[in-house]
Symmetry: C3
Subunit: 208 residues, 3 copies
C-alpha cells in the first residue's frame, strides 16, 4: 500500500511547486509591464499563457484529489490552497487586461510600487510552499507567513494613500473610476497572498 | 432502511429539478425584459416572485440536508449546489432592480446579447442537472459542463468588448458608472453558471 | 476525559461572547461617528482598536479549534462563525476609513439610518449568540434570526431608496461614486449579520 500512498503525497507537493513557479513568473511579468507602462496585446500574451498553465495544473490537483484517499493534509485545505494560488495568476491577468481595455498605457509610479510588493509577497509565499513538503521545518513557513502578512499591511496603507491622492489630484471622474479599480485589484492580489499564507499557517498548526 | 434512504435520494433530485425550472423561467424572463428595454415595477414583479420561490426551495434543500444522514453526494456539494443555483435567480433579480433604479429603460443591444448567453448557459446547465439523477449517463453532464464553460468564455470577451465601447463612446461618467455595473452583473451570472457546472463535474469525478 | 472536553466547550462560548461584546461596541461606535459626521483620525481610532481585538480573539478561536478534538458544533461552522463575526468589525472599520479618505465629514441622514439598523441587527444577533450556549432555549436563537433577517430586508429597501436618491439629486459624479461605495458597504454589514443568523439557525437544526 505504501507504494500507492507515498507517490501521491509527493505528487501534491510537486504540483504545488509547479504552481509556485507559475505565480512567481506572473508576478515578475506584471512588474515588468508596470515598469514599462505597456499593457498592449503582445505584452499581456505572456500572462494569458501563464493563466492557462495555472488552470491546467489546478485542474490536475483537483482531479488527483478526487481520486486519492490518503492526502498529505486536509482535502478541503488542498482544494482551497490550489484555487487560491490559481487566483493570484487570474487576478494579475485580469488586471492587465483591464489596463489594456482602459488604455492606461503610461508608467504609474504607484502601480510600480504595488507590483514590487506583489513580487515580494509571492517570493515569501513560495518559500513557505517549499517548506510545506518538509514538516520538520515549520520555522520557514512561519517566517514566510509573517512576511506575507506584513506586506499585506503595507499594501493596505499604500492603497489608502494612493486612492486619497487619486481623488485629490484627478479632475476627470472617468480616470478616477479606471485607476480606482486597478489599484483595488492589485491590492486584492496581496489579500489573496495573505489568505494563502494564513491557510499554510493553519495546516501547520493542525499537523503540530 | 432502504425505504428511508431511497426516497431521500429521490427528494434531492426532485428539488434540484424544481430549482432548474425556476432558473430557466428567470433567464427567459430576464431576456424578455432586456428585449423590451422595460424594467419597471410590473416588469420585474415576475422575477421577484421567482426569487421568493427560489429562496423557499433552497431553504427546503438545506433543511432536508440537515435532517438526512445518507445523501446522494457530498453534503458540502449539495449545500453549495443549492446555494449557487439560488444565486442565479438572485443575481438576475438584483440586476433588474438596478436597471429600474437607474432608470435604464431603453433597449441595449449588448444587454440583449448577454441575456441570450444567459438563456443558453442556463439551458445547458439544466440538461446537466437532469443528468445528475442518472449516474449512468455521465456524458450528458460532461457535455453540458463544456458548453457552460464555453459560454462563460464568450461572456468574458463580450464584457471586455462592451466595456471598451462604453468607455470609448459614452461621455457622461454617471452613465458609464451605471452601465458598467449592469454589464458586470450579467457577466457574473455566467460566472455562477460556470461554478455550478464545475461543481457538477467534480461530483461526477468523485462518483466515478 | 470529561475534564478536558467540557472546558473546551465552555471556552468556545466564552470566546463567542467576547466577539459579541466587540461587535456591539463597534456598531455603537460607528453610529456615534455617523451621528457626528466626523470620521477623522481620532474618531476612528476606537474602531481600529476594536478591529485589533477582533483579530486577536478570532485567531484564538481558530487556534483552539485546530487543537481541539471535541467541539460544541461542526468545526466548519465554528470556523465560519468566528470569521463572519470578525467581518462585521472589519467592515465597519473599513467603511470608516473610507469616509475619512473621501473627506466625507458631514452628517448624512441616510448613513445615520443605516447605522441605526446596524445597531439593531447586531443587538439581535448577540441575543442569539448568548442562546447558542444553551441548546435548551432554541426559541431565543430563532427569534433573533427572524429579526436579523427582517432588518436586512429593511436595509435592502433603504439602500435602493438611497441610491435612487443619490443618482437623482447629486450632480457631481465623483460624489456619487464615493457615497455609492459607502452605502453599499454599510448594507454589506447587514448582509454579514444575516449570514451569521442563518448559520446559527442551521447549527440549531443540526442539533435538533
Amino acid at each position: 500500500m505504501a507504494f500507492r500512498f507515498i507517490p501521491h503525497e509527493v505528487k501534491f507537493f510537486d504540483m504545488f511547486d509547479q504552481q509556485a513557479v507559475i505565480i512567481t513568473d506572473a508576478a515578475h511579468t506584471f512588474r515588468e509591464l508596470a515598469q514599462k507602462g505597456k499593457f498592449d496585446d503582445e505584452a499581456i500574451a505572456r500572462l494569458r499563457e501563464l493563466e492557462h498553465q495555472g488552470d491546467a495544473i489546478t485542474h490536475d490537483i483537483i482531479d488527483t484529489l478526487n481520486r486519492t484517499f490518503i492526502t498529505p493534509f486536509d482535502r478541503e485545505d488542498i482544494h482551497s490552497f490550489a484555487h487560491e494560488l490559481d487566483n493570484v495568476v487570474d487576478m494579475l491577468y485580469t488586471t492587465s487586461k483591464r489596463m489594456r481595455l482602459y488604455k492606461l498605457n503610461e508608467v504609474n509610479d504607484d502601480l510600480v510600487s504595488f507590483s514590487e510588493l506583489i513580487v515580494q509577497s509571492v517570493t515569501a509565499l513560495c518559500r513557505g510552499i517549499k517548506g510545506l513538503r518538509n514538516h520538520k521545518k515549520p520555522r520557514e513557513i512561519n517566517e514566510a507567513c509573517i512576511e506575507v502578512n506584513q506586506i499585506e499591511n503595507q499594501g493596505d496603507l499604500l492603497r489608502d494613500a494612493v486612492i486619497f491622492k487619486l481623488f485629490e489630484k484627478t479632475k476627470d471622474p472617468v480616470k478616477i473610476m479606471k485607476w480606482k479599480e486597478i489599484f483595488e485589484s492589485v491590492e486584492t492580489v496581496l489579500d489573496i497572498c495573505e489568505d494563502i499564507a494564513n491557510l499554510m499557517d493553519s495546516i501547520l498548526v493542525k499537523q503540530g
